[in-house]
């Protein structure tokens, strides 16, 4: 993240309802997280297979907790704190308790986006834990690329109801990650 001003601006635009700004922000953060998680796993001597799980868990946390960003502060330290928290949490669940310092790797924020490495939890396995309606909504929007309105028409729900259910599904997914103690 070579230009922190820009990231803060993207989040501010996202808060005002600019979906495209939010998408760009999330994708940029995802590629940064990939580098951070990769290095964190390497430092802890863990296989890189968990990388994408950490990326997704952190993105979910960042999304669900985005109200805790104080607009008067830059976004970058807030992002780094959430990434650090989730990385430590992930490693701790796997019995790794040593200190993990992601500040060492902050310069990788500027690194070019790396491709997804490491496999995310299997889609079916991860979504299988959700109630039927929540699962179909996440599948519709994420995997089939439909809009909330399209999904609503297909499931006979209003767009608002789809969004409320989607929010519940995302909170449930965050819990799936948190409770995952493999």
């Amino acid at each position: 993240m070579s230009d922190p001003e820009d990231l803060s601006a993207l989040m501010r635009a996202a808060r005002k309802g600019d979906d495209e700004a939010y998408r760009r922000l999330l994708l940029r953060v995802a590629s940064w997280l990939r580098a951070v998680a990769s290095r964190g796993l390497a430092a802890a001597g863990r296989p890189n297979a968990d990388c994408e799980d950490i990326v997704q868990e952190t993105l979910l946390a960042m999304h669900l907790k985005r109200d805790t960003w104080d607009e008067t502060q830059p976004l970058q330290p807030w992002l780094r704190a959430i990434a650090h928290h989730k990385l430590v949490d992930h490693l701790r669940r796997r019995g790794f308790t040593d200190h993990v310092n992601i500040d060492d790797h902050s310069e990788t924020l500027a690194a070019p986006a790396s491709a997804e490495a490491g496999s995310a939890l299997d889609t079916r396995q991860m979504l299988a834990g959700l109630p039927e309606r929540q699962r179909r909504i996440v599948e519709g929007i994420s995997i089939e690329g439909q809009t909330a309105r399209d999904v609503g028409v297909r499931l006979g729900m209003s767009e608002g109801a789809v969004r409320v259910t989607l929010h519940r599904a995302l909170r449930a997914l965050a819990e799936v990650y948190r409770k995952d103690r493999t």
Partner: protein, 211 residues
């Protein structure tokens, strides 16, 4: 699910994006304090000489103390609820300290040393020690629940800050009941009453506010 696919769902989810943290905390505090006010009105009632009390410097200093403590605790609670704790909230503690030092200095200057102990012990210490935690109970619960949405750097510290805020709100309410206005009494017993509330907040927060 691939990360780009997850992002599509995150972007589509616009629920709860327009609720600043400060508003959630404020609403929780008001709702909790409203219940405490009912308990206060039914079981405790304001002191009978309330109107006269406003004219005394001790009562005014007491109000100044509890209200500035409320402001300081609100700032601390909001700061502790975030992943990155900024230190500006510490400035809000300054008025509390200034009022405390000024009130205590005045009290010690105007009272003969022989009466200090009687003022410190007062006549309501036990009531104070039960009423403040009692009034803090519902606000603390409401605040802890509100902070589950947050992402505290330290869940235990955030819980303690919720306890401090709940205790400060309770102290504001209790101040209108208690006859003991001496800064010696207020600084001693109100503080002692707040400590268990903060400890309970920290203990619950440590588990409840993990994310």
């Amino acid at each position: 699910m691939r990360t780009e696919q997850l992002v599509a769902s995150l972007v589509a989810d616009r629920v709860g994006s327009a609720r600043p943290l400060g508003r959630s905390v404020g609403q929780a505090l008001l709702a909790g304090a409203a219940v405490s006010l009912v308990i206060f009105a039914v079981e405790f009632k304001p002191r009978v000489d309330l109107a006269a009390a406003f004219a005394t410097w001790r009562f005014d200093a007491k109000l100044g103390l509890v209200l500035s403590a409320l402001v300081a605790a609100s700032a601390a609670c909001l700061a502790m609820a975030r992943p990155v704790i900024t230190v500006q909230w510490r400035w809000a503690v300054l008025p509390v300290l200034l009022i405390a030092v000024a009130a205590l200095g005045t009290e010690l200057a105007v009272l003969p040393a022989g009466t200090w102990e009687a003022r410190l012990v007062g006549s309501n210490a036990l009531v104070c020690l039960t009423a403040i935690p009692l009034f803090a109970l519902v606000p603390l619960t409401a605040l802890l629940l509100a902070l589950r949405r947050a992402a505290p750097a330290s869940p235990a510290l955030a819980g303690a800050a919720c306890g401090a805020l709940a205790a400060a709100a309770a102290a504001v309410i209790y101040a209108f009941h208690c006859f003991d206005d001496s800064p010696l009494f207020v600084l001693t017993w109100y503080t002692l009453a707040a400590i268990p509330v903060m400890l309970v907040g920290a203990a619950i927060g440590r588990r409840l506010l993990r994310w």
